[in-house]
Symmetry: C2
Subunit: 314 residues, 2 copies
């Protein structure tokens, strides 16, 4: 079945791609229909998750990676996950503006997505956007996260290649990286490697890499960069390419893509189940009784939820 | 119905409270049974969410608040939400150790909870823990968050009083506070107010407070503190108490408690719905067909999820 909007995306029409992504963010049927038409054309791009603590310089690094990959004739899509804040607006907007230096280049597509405080909603939107860019023929799709909270964990599940960006300096609460994220990393970047403490940080990271039993097929790498000056960026590109070669010459690309498909499917199912359950509950008479009982502290929320679920099923 | 473990908690036995909280974190039946018995005894404490960007000094501030409230003969419970990380272990552990200066004081209960990368799981565990401490007779329960990601939004839904801790310095990505969090704040703290830029930050915050149409019953306050030196902590205590007085002399305590109960109930229902839906799916024959089709890119995840949901219902 044809879909005019999807056809425009496949023909490389950037405004149409932006429209589909926006419609999907809104949970709109037009977006979903286009996605259905685009989905069979996706599955070729290397999807790269870039995460790490705030202040690690991820945006600058991504900006440099775009330039470097463009020199290698790769088309690059970027999905940047932004926190929305009256405080940080300036700084982050600044980063985005900087990235817009690629705006005139049709081989680059950059889309920022704001966290809206919706559980899981942002990860879904990012997932959908990668499908659109992938179908459109971008070779690499970088998903850049804020680097904290759930977003970080979600992005790993979407990526073929996970890049964790660290910076020198210890004892800093900002360095908080979740254990699961460290384990999932394929590449480590020590950015701002010209700062004091870089050598210590490198050996600390190297120790962490070593501590792990290395029965991995892919030997994880650590790259030192100074993104602001462009130092180490070529090495990082090489490492990203090496990981892509590993993925496609082993069965890893296929197995990660399958895991990604499973994850996407289950996430959509979860949303659907929630939506339908909550819909059903909102219309249920039992809700007012249970809600009253929980509010009066006669019934605890677990027992109340079980009662509502039972009512839903009958 | 009696519950021996709950009875011990109600009698003030700290190890039993710790056990119930741990069992609830694990999703264990023993924990839930105790919670059912404790729930009718809860609903009296002032629950205070303390949030703000990493590095704002929340842990130190909470530590000082404990001391100050103990001097006012209040019993204080603290639930600290921690990121788990091989990097930050040192710093955060240090904070916790510092807070253990209250360890010998039976009027203080501190419990750290690690983020485990489970969607919503941590918020549920924190919610359950407040019920336990509340039933046990703690007057104030402080929930301290990492201050980023979803945790921040969740904690507001659990609190009667939301305290947002800021620090001087602009253009810093770390300053990222979600818009929804700013709006929900009852009290703002400008911590580290002896740093350069404090006056600018204060006037920036004051402008933000002013921009809003002030049709609120509660006039939101801004308190300057230097937690490390204990400066401004008494004023902050006064502001927390003033908010409690406002809550209990208006219908706000009742309405926030009702909103909290509703939120807790719906969260438990969501979890139950997900659990049952995923359980049902795992046993469904349709799953393998749909999963195969999504992996081969013949079916997109939305259409696949709808097919699975339909299969579940039949």
């Amino acid at each position: 079945m044809g879909n005019a909007l999807a056809d425009k995306v496949l023909a490389g029409h950037v405004p149409s791609a932006a429209r589909v992504i926006r419609r999907l963010e809104d949970g709109d049927a037009e977006g979903r229909d286009a996605l259905t038409a685009l989905y069979p054309h996706s599955g070729k791009a290397q999807i790269i998750g870039v995460t790490g603590p705030p202040g690690a310089g991820k945006s600058t690094l991504v900006d440099r990676l775009i330039t470097a990959f463009r020199k290698r004739d790769k088309r690059v899509g970027v999905i940047a996950i932004d926190p929305t804040s009256p405080f940080s607006g300036g700084a982050i907007l600044g980063d985005r503006v900087r990235m817009q230096s690629h705006a005139a280049d049709s081989g680059v597509f950059i889309r920022s997505m704001a966290t809206r405080g919706q559980l899981g909603g942002l990860a879904r939107a990012a997932d959908d956007a990668t499908v659109v860019l992938d179908a459109m023929g971008f070779d690499l799709i970088l998903i850049e996260t804020v680097g904290v909270g759930q977003d970080e964990v979600d992005v790993i599940k979407l990526a073929h290649t996970t890049v964790v960006v660290c910076l020198p300096g210890t004892g800093d609460e900002v360095q908080a990286i979740k254990a699961g994220v460290m384990e999932a990393a394929d590449l480590f970047v020590l950015n701002k490697a010209d700062l004091p403490g870089a050598d210590e940080a490198e050996s600390h990271l190297a120790t962490l890499l070593h501590l792990e039993m290395n029965d991995r097929e892919w030997e994880r790498r650590l790259v030192r960069t100074v993104a602001e000056k462009g130092e180490g960026v070529a090495e990082l590109c090489d490492a990203v390419v090496a990981h892509d070669v590993y993925l496609r010459t082993s069965d890893a690309f296929t197995s990660r893509s399958a895991a990604r498909a499973r994850h996407s499917l289950f996430e959509r199912l979860r949303e659907l189940a929630l939506e339908r359950a909550i819909d059903g509950i909102e219309r249920s008479e039992e809700l007012q009784h249970v809600l009253g009982a929980v509010t009066r502290r006669e019934t605890d929320p677990y027992v109340g939820a079980a009662r509502l679920w039972q009512a839903l099923k009958n």
